[in-house]
């Protein structure tokens, strides 16, 4: 069980690191990086949820039947999540470019024309 908790610990650390970046860094790019880190952490968490101690990857081959493999569903989920994450990041970066064009800065404290 020890190594399972390592995954959990790692996942939660990643999430918190990402969150830290979002909450503290003023630069928009750093915040986006923080978001990505957070997503990675979440993905890791998802994987570890499906992990069953002592089993192999869920690829059905010789000697690896459904009972020997870890839960395959989280892995499928993570794949989807990664794709979504990529899309989001791409989207975000393109928006960041526009922002830099229009505002001349990426400091989020200065990008606040919409308020109140």
């Amino acid at each position: 069980m020890i190594h399972i908790s390592v995954y959990y610990f790692g996942a939660i650390s990643l999430i918190l690191i990402g969150l830290y970046a979002v909450l503290v860094k003023k630069n928009l790019l750093k915040m986006l990086i923080g978001l990505s880190i957070m997503e990675t952490g979440v993905n890791l968490l998802l994987i570890s949820v499906g992990y069953i101690s002592g089993r192999s990857a869920p690829i059905l081959s010789e000697g690896v039947g459904p009972n020997q493999a870890v839960d395959p569903i989280p892995q499928a989920l993570v794949l989807t999540a990664i794709v979504i994450g990529v899309a989001t990041t791409a989207m975000a970066l393109s928006v960041a470019i526009i922002l830099y064009e229009k505002y001349g800065t990426l400091n989020v404290e200065e990008i606040r024309r919409l308020r109140g």
Binding site: V22, L46, I73, P74, A81, I84, L99, K102, Y103
Partner: protein, 495 residues
């Protein structure tokens, strides 16, 4: 007659979205008519689904690939989903037409694609029966929404999009954590099965999982204090998109939250989640109403109003009683109509007069009487004047709220409603009794759409019986979990 054709409500927009480039290749001018056509087709399908569900009084379960849940992913088109898919389709159709007038910024083909995907995402969120599928649809909705928010390519649009994205990103991450926890605890992603198993899982895990799911959805559903992105996005997005945000994108999030909430009824700490949600909802109403009070930009003002109304819906849905859910659903329907009308009217004014500040609305009654009339009706309805539709749902919510023991919440919401009355009525005064100007010509088709919505408001206002019976059925669909579970043909797991 085969219910499986109902999958078309997902398939049609998805497929047509990717056909847009093809259409563009043929003729650039054909893109918007194509969009109109697809949405019209969607209206047809949704109408058929609606009719099917409400005549047979049974939900349509679409099983992907013929696999029975929980192995296969299923769509659950119950009374609620059928009703809302129809609303989504109809409003999308109107907005597709409005887009022809309103959206001039290129590239229109991208706009059409994103438009269809947004519609698809919202439809999917409402129709799906699988929690991870929900996440996927939510992300589709969210990403298209980010993109559409930024569509105008102005600094403000990009800024609003950025805010939406960061907050949405955090929200969806935690939503995913919630899924992970629930999955870890139950080993399934099918909603019906989760409902069955919810009673047996570790209450702490269930509570945290549920709370995280709600948290993630609350960002989409604009609950205080997670709604900071909303006014900006509403204001900066193209006018048709604002209508869609307010009319159904938010509602989809709300619905998902409510669905998950009621599915997890069996969780022992369920009531404390409800209480948290009620607190957030009440705060949403109060803060949003006060924020709208001295707003100079009408679109933003109505955005705040929309947020507060959504808060009211959330309040109703979080009451945990049949009456509350019915009222909430009823309010959802009414609010979708009213806010569609208002944003449509305000958007049209924005296009015609080049701005949506309060000053632009002076003398609107003389310049654009039809639009002014529509905005007036919408405003009066939003205030909760009797013989307009929102009156009925508001009354229902208040009755349900006090019955559920949240007298303080009802009192606060009613107090905030007074504020709402003030700013809407100031707007009406400005429209009709201040300033003046030349008469402008108004689009006939848009006028017809507005009049249709006005008529809908008045019909529901004068004779709410039919709408109320729909809302009751739809509400029962959300609230009655056992029926939900029994309707889904689960493979013998648990049961």
């Amino acid at each position: 007659m085969n219910g499986q054709y109902a999958a078309l409500i997902i398939a049609l927009p998805l497929v047509s979205a990717f056909f847009v480039p093809v259409i563009k290749a043929i003729s650039k001018k054909a893109v918007m008519p194509f969009l109109l056509l697809v949405t019209l087709a969607q209206v047809g399908i949704a109408g058929w689904v609606f009719n099917e569900v409400y005549t047979s009084d049974k939900p349509i379960i679409v099983m992907a690939g013929g696999w029975r849940p929980p192995v296969g992913i299923n769509l659950y088109i119950g009374h609620f989903a059928a009703l809302f898919v129809l609303i989504i389709a109809v409003i999308s159709f109107f907005m597709a037409y409005f887009s022809i007038k309103a959206v001039k910024v290129e590239p229109l083909d991208k706009y059409a694609m994103l438009f269809l995907l947004l519609m698809l995402g919202a439809t999917g969120m409402i129709a799906t029966g699988d929690i991870f599928n929900l996440f996927v649809f939510m992300e589709i909705t969210a990403i298209t929404a980010y993109a559409l928010t930024a569509y105008n390519k102005t600094g403000e649009a990009a800024e609003a999009s950025m805010k939406y994205m960061i907050l949405g990103g955090i929200g969806s991450s935690f939503f995913l954590i919630g899924i992970a926890l629930i999955y870890g605890a139950t080993g399934t992603l099918n909603m019906a099965q989760i409902a069955q198993l919810a009673g047996n899982i570790n209450p702490t895990v269930a509570q945290v999982g549920l709370a995280l799911l709600i948290f993630g959805l609350a960002v989409e559903a604009e609950l205080f204090p997670l709604n900071a992105w909303a006014p900006d996005a509403y204001q900066a997005a193209p006018h048709p998109i604002t209508v869609m945000f307010s009319a159904f994108v938010v509602k989809a999030g709300l619905y998902a939250a409510a669905r998950l909430l009621y599915l997890m009824q069996a969780v022992s700490t369920w009531h404390s989640v409800l209480r948290l949600l009620v607190i957030m909802a009440v705060l949403t109403v109060v803060v949003a109403e006060f924020s709208a009070l001295r707003q100079r930009d009408v679109k933003r003002m109505i955005a705040y109003s929309s947020i507060s109304q959504v808060g009211m819906i959330a309040f109703a849905l979080a009451l945990g009683s049949q009456a509350g859910v019915d009222a909430g659903v009823f309010h959802m329907v009414n609010h979708a109509i009213v806010k569609a009308l208002l944003f449509l009217g305000v958007g049209y004014v924005g296009i015609k007069l080049g701005g949506t500040t309060l000053e632009d609305f002076e003398g609107l009654g003389r310049r654009m009487p039809l639009t002014a009339f529509a905005i007036t009706v919408g405003s009066l309805s939003a205030v909760g004047i009797p013989l307009f539709n929102i009156f009925w749902s508001k009354v229902r919510i208040m009755l349900a709220g006090v019955s559920a023991g949240y007298t303080w919440g009802v009192a606060l919401i009613l107090g905030a409603s007074v504020v709402e009355a003030v700013y809407y009525l100031r707007l009406i005064h400005r429209i009709w009794f201040a300033g003046g100007g030349e008469r402008l010509s108004e689009s006939f088709a848009l006028g017809a759409i507005m009049l249709f919505l006005v008529a809908l408001i008045l019909v529901i206002g004068f004779y709410p019986n039919y709408a109320w019976s729909l809302a009751q059925k739809a509400g029962a669909d959300i609230f009655d979990v056992t029926r939900y579970v029994s309707n889904v043909p689960l493979m013998g797991v648990g049961a």
